[in-house]
């Protein structure tokens, strides 16, 4: 069974893709059928993923590769392939499972939408592309699926196409990620030029295998950094993170699927996938490219955690939290904790999807209200949402022992503490933990505690089709922590390809207490500050300038608008201007010179040549007129003329003699 799945891995993305295409060919009326197709595709994909995962478990360092020729050009063949290894298999399961939950949630959330079918088609397409990214055994195939993921996110963010803000956000997302993708693209073709293959693993000839890596030589750092550009764009790392909060214009399930669980994780996945290139020639686990990864991650994590503290849109807070967590994962990858980073990615996928769906449930219950200042006291009205949201919040904040996020975060902090270059990232990440706990507490208090504020007069719990996925995800978030504990680091070792050992003693660690203390500080501070907070944020009261700075997202959007975008627009106008007036002007100048020559020759024609001819004719006509005037018609005149002629002849004759 496992071999069959590994050999037919392409079925996993193909099923949702087929579902998507089938749905697009349906009419608007066939709503139930559309949703059924999408969910069936997803269920089948999940089953296949589980089978693939199950096949991968027994063997450490499992790796099944299936390569094929895509097309030939000249005498060369361009090969693509599929790959199943521990990394791919856990990602497969996480993506298909979370997607399935989100699909089911969407049944309720989108129930009233006119384009219900189209939504599911897009969702399925997204899922297919994302699964393609995960199982690709070729940087090119990964890039192809990567771009398709971008397309799907464009379509989904702009799903409510009649909203201009949604369309603008979709455009922004696509273009911002494409900026990163250009780097990725260049890195890819550079890699191809160096190693002659884009396959990751190819029986010793792949780009990530020893021979391939050696052929990169000095270009490895540049290639790795270029590829990292793609990850920066997709995973919303500083400075390309600006699209992600805007992308919250899409329907909430989309935010959950794309901007929490899967798509933004693709960047982290990419770095993990091509990690051998990043760590090539590492000295004590440090290379230039990894250094960049760490610092970008640190900056992103801190900036966005700070911004999250000053946002009022429930989804934007989560979006910035996502950016921050992704930064954390990047730091983890950069300092060498690949397994820790991926584990956090998986755990984050579960609990962030949970949080987003929870926020969706809140928004749904409050009649599309997204401002947390207008919520408050929803605890009683929405008990299921509240409880599951609390689970998600605790997992995100890193409350120890029973929540998935805590273990993985602790793992990351452990990895940063061992980094040989500097301890600064470690301390900054500790600060990040406090900040995370703080802003999540703020959100919880604003939304679920305190007095009921303006909007939600008839706030209600969502229907069961929406609460069930919440509960399942919350359970998963808790259950998932079982395989993350250091006492039985099963997942960690599976990812690293070693057999896990059970060691109860390692459950008790100093790092755990540290985390406990930090989270306690964060939550305690949060309760202290925000307890009884009203319309006006307490933080805004004490430090209004700082708050405004953060509320306006450090004016980064405006900064880009005034610098890069303004420059680009100016360049566009300039090109148009040059085109119209300079280049075309030169051509017209050439034309005018030609015309001037024409004018010159015309003048010469008229004045010199033509006038000569004209004068000659005028002269001839004058003579003619003169002679004609002598024609009296009278015989005697003629006779006289003859006589004169005769006389003249005579005189001539006489002169001759």
């Amino acid at each position: 069974m496992s071999n069959w799945t590994a050999a037919h891995l392409w079925l996993i993305p193909l099923l949702p893709l087929a579902a998507s295409l089938a749905i697009l060919s349906l009419t608007k009326k066939q709503r139930a059928f559309a949703a059924g197709l999408a969910i069936a595709g997803q269920v089948l994909a999940l089953l296949l993923s589980l089978a693939a995962f199950g096949g991968a478990i027994p063997t450490p360092t499992y790796r099944a590769v299936h390569n094929f020729v895509w097309f030939t050009f000249g005498e060369q063949a361009l090969r693509l392939g599929f790959l199943l290894d521990p990394l791919a298999s856990v990602m497969l399961v996480m993506i298909t499972f979370v997607s399935l939950c989100i699909f089911v949630f969407s049944l309720g959330y989108m129930a009233k939408d006119e384009n219900f079918g189209r939504f599911f088609a897009y969702l399925s397409f997204f899922s297919a592309a994302m699964l393609g990214v995960v199982i690709a055994n070729s940087l090119l195939l990964l890039f192809i699926c990567w771009e398709l993921v971008g397309l799907a996110s464009y379509l989904l963010i702009g799903f409510w196409i009649h909203k201009p803000s949604a369309a603008a956000a979709a455009k922004k997302a696509f273009i911002t990620t494409r900026i990163g993708d250009l780097g990725f693209f260049l890195g890819m073709i550079w890699l191809y030029g160096r190693s002659g293959t884009l396959l990751f693993y190819d029986g010793g000839h792949g780009a990530l295998e020893t021979a391939g890596l050696l052929s990169l030589g000095g270009a490895a750092t540049s290639i790795a950094l270029l590829i990292f550009c793609g990850a920066v764009g997709k995973s919303g790392q500083f400075p390309l993170h600006v699209w992600l909060p805007d992308a919250m214009e899409g329907p909430t399930p989309v935010s959950a699927l794309i901007h929490a669980a899967t798509m933004v994780a693709a960047g982290v996945f990419l770095v993990a996938r091509v990690y051998p290139i990043f760590s090539l020639g590492a000295i004590k686990g440090v290379t230039t490219s990894l250094l960049v990864v760490v610092w970008i991650g640190v900056v992103t994590a801190l900036i966005s955690a700070l911004i999250a503290l000053a946002q009022f849109d429930i989804k934007r807070i989560l979006a910035y939290s996502t950016v921050s967590q992704l930064g954390l994962m990047m730091v983890s990858l950069g300092v060498g904790g690949v397994a820790a980073g991926i584990m956090h990615l998986l755990a984050h996928g579960f609990f962030k999807a949970l949080l987003f769906l929870g926020s969706g449930s809140v928004i749904h219950g409050c009649d599309e209200e997204q401002d947390i200042r207008r919520m408050g006291g929803l605890r009683g009205a929405m008990p299921v949402t509240f409880l599951t949201y609390a689970v998600g919040m605790m997992a995100l904040s890193g409350v120890p022992l029973f929540f998935a996020g805590a273990w993985t975060k602790e793992e990351i902090l452990h990895a940063t503490s061992l980094w040989s270059v500097s301890r600064l990232p470690h301390f900054l990440m500790l600060a990040g933990v406090v900040l995370t706990a703080l802003y999540m507490t703020r959100q919880m208090i604003y939304v679920f505690f305190g007095e009921r504020r303006t909007a939600p007069t008839h706030a209600h719990e969502s229907s069961s089709v929406m609460t069930w996925p919440l509960m399942v995800l919350a359970l998963c978030t808790i259950a998932f922590s079982l395989v993350l504990t250091p006492a039985w680091p099963w997942l960690h070792d599976f990812l690293l390809g070693v057999r896990p050992l059970f060691n109860a003693a390692s459950l008790i660690q100093p790092g755990l207490f540290l985390a406990l203390v930090l989270v306690a500080i964060g939550i305690g501070l949060g309760v202290l500050i925000y307890r009884g907070a009203g319309e006006r944020d307490p933080f805004a009261r004490t430090a209004p300038a700082v708050f405004r700075f953060l509320e306006n997202r450090m004016w980064l959007d405006e900064l880009y608008d005034w610098t890069i975008l303004a420059f680009a627009r100016f360049a566009a106008q300039l090109s148009d201007f040059l085109d119209r007036y300079l280049w075309d002007g030169l051509v017209r100048l050439g034309g005018e010179i030609g015309r001037a020559f024409g004018g010159l020759t015309k003048g010469f024609d008229e004045r010199a040549i033509n006038s000569g001819v004209n004068d000659a004719t005028v002269f001839a006509r004058g003579i003619g007129r003169l002679v004609a005037a002598r024609h009296s018609g009278q015989v005697q005149t003629y006779l006289g003329a003859i006589a004169v002629g005769l006389l003249a002849l005579l005189i001539f004759y006489a002169w001759l003699i």
Binding site: P164, L186, I189, A572, S575
Partner: protein, 490 residues
Amino acid sequence: MAHLIAGLIFIPILGALFVSVAPRPYARPVALGSCAITALFSLELWRVFNPALAGLQLVARHDWIPAIGAELHLGVDGLSLLLVLLTSLVFPFALLARELDRAFCALMLLMQAALYGTFTAQNFVLWFLFYEMSLFPGFLLIKIWGGPKRDRAATKFFLYTFLGSVAMLLSFLGIYLVRGTFDFAQLASLGKSGLLGGEARWFAFAGVFLGLAVKVPLFPFHTWLPDAYETAPTGVSMVMTGALSKMGVYGFVRLLLPLFPNEIRIAGPWLLGLAVCSIVFTSLAAWAQTDLKRMVAYLSINHLGYCMLGLFAVASSALIPPNEAQAALSGVFLQVFNHGLTAAALFYFVGLLEERRGARGLEDFGGLMQRTPLLCGWMSVAMFSSLGLPGLNGFVGEFLIFTGSFSLAAGYTAVAVLGLLITAIVFLRAMQALFSGPLATSCATFPDLRARETWVVVPVTLLMFAVGIYPQFICGIFNSTVTGMARLLG
């Protein structure tokens, strides 16, 4: 089988004659029938063509004017066949794009014959004859059926390209006087050792380069194009971008590269610079346009710029590794086909919008997605194809071009990649303006795709997907040609 090519050239001419004498209502059926027959001929040509051979096939060779070395020398290799297929593909759809009168059909068919001739002629005199023969129908089609400013645009188009052609003709006369032949193959075999000596070779090179650069067009010789494409009727714009512009690229591959390898190598950095300017500046200029058709026209130059980049990268590097050369050349050929398909489709869509709205400014539309989802959906596919989304045809060619040229000219390629970004910006901006937001009142009564239009849109779009997903069936045509060419240049 050699008569297949002659048939391809003569059937449209016969068709043009029939159209011009047939009663008015028969003009369109006769023209389309002629296109159908030539399409069948092209397919038959594809069938009998042996893709494993690198050289010319189905050669027909007869004396014509021995005194000046002019021969009736026709034949196809992979590139020729590809372009013949493209021509056969674009013309029927261009003829379907609008209501037609007789003269329009006849001129279009003449142009088609000229294109077939250009892509199959193997002797300069014959080639040049066909090359110029395409000019007059183009001029008349713009001049008579064009939009506002058509007089100026048509004259500009004609004079500009004609001037280039004259320069090229002079160069070839010079070459003939020295070398005594007009045959492409013979000239190509002389190219390596230098066709001409001294200063004369630079004049000859400049003349040929100018003629082709205007035709493609390459920055900064492109200014006729936006005007011409903008005013030309939809069908003519489709043909001009889909097939006519390929004559320039074909000329570069067939003439400039083999005949002047040493000169290109010396001028390489400048040529690459022009190609990069072509890519970056025109895409930026497209960004600044508010007229949809003009925007697509600029992007058309941009996409041909990628072809030029690939060609110049291959030709200008001192030592050409065969792998990179094959990648770049394959990419260029694919891009030629893809651009023909996609740009023609885009002009068709713009034509549909213009026909419905009576205007084609970006701000004239809004919220179309709510009113005409099918039209918007299919049009988005064409746009995404043009901006190089993987899974559609544009990506494959661009990937190969960039792969090949990056190893040969990394700096230029890195700058050229910006074009991909700007193209994306331009198209997304257009999509945002056209499709999204509230439905504009002026668009509230638009009909969605009609059956007749669907018959154009769907096959073309499916072909985009086909090439994007399985490019082998296009690559298979020219793989041997590419290999041979890479060896010749290397």
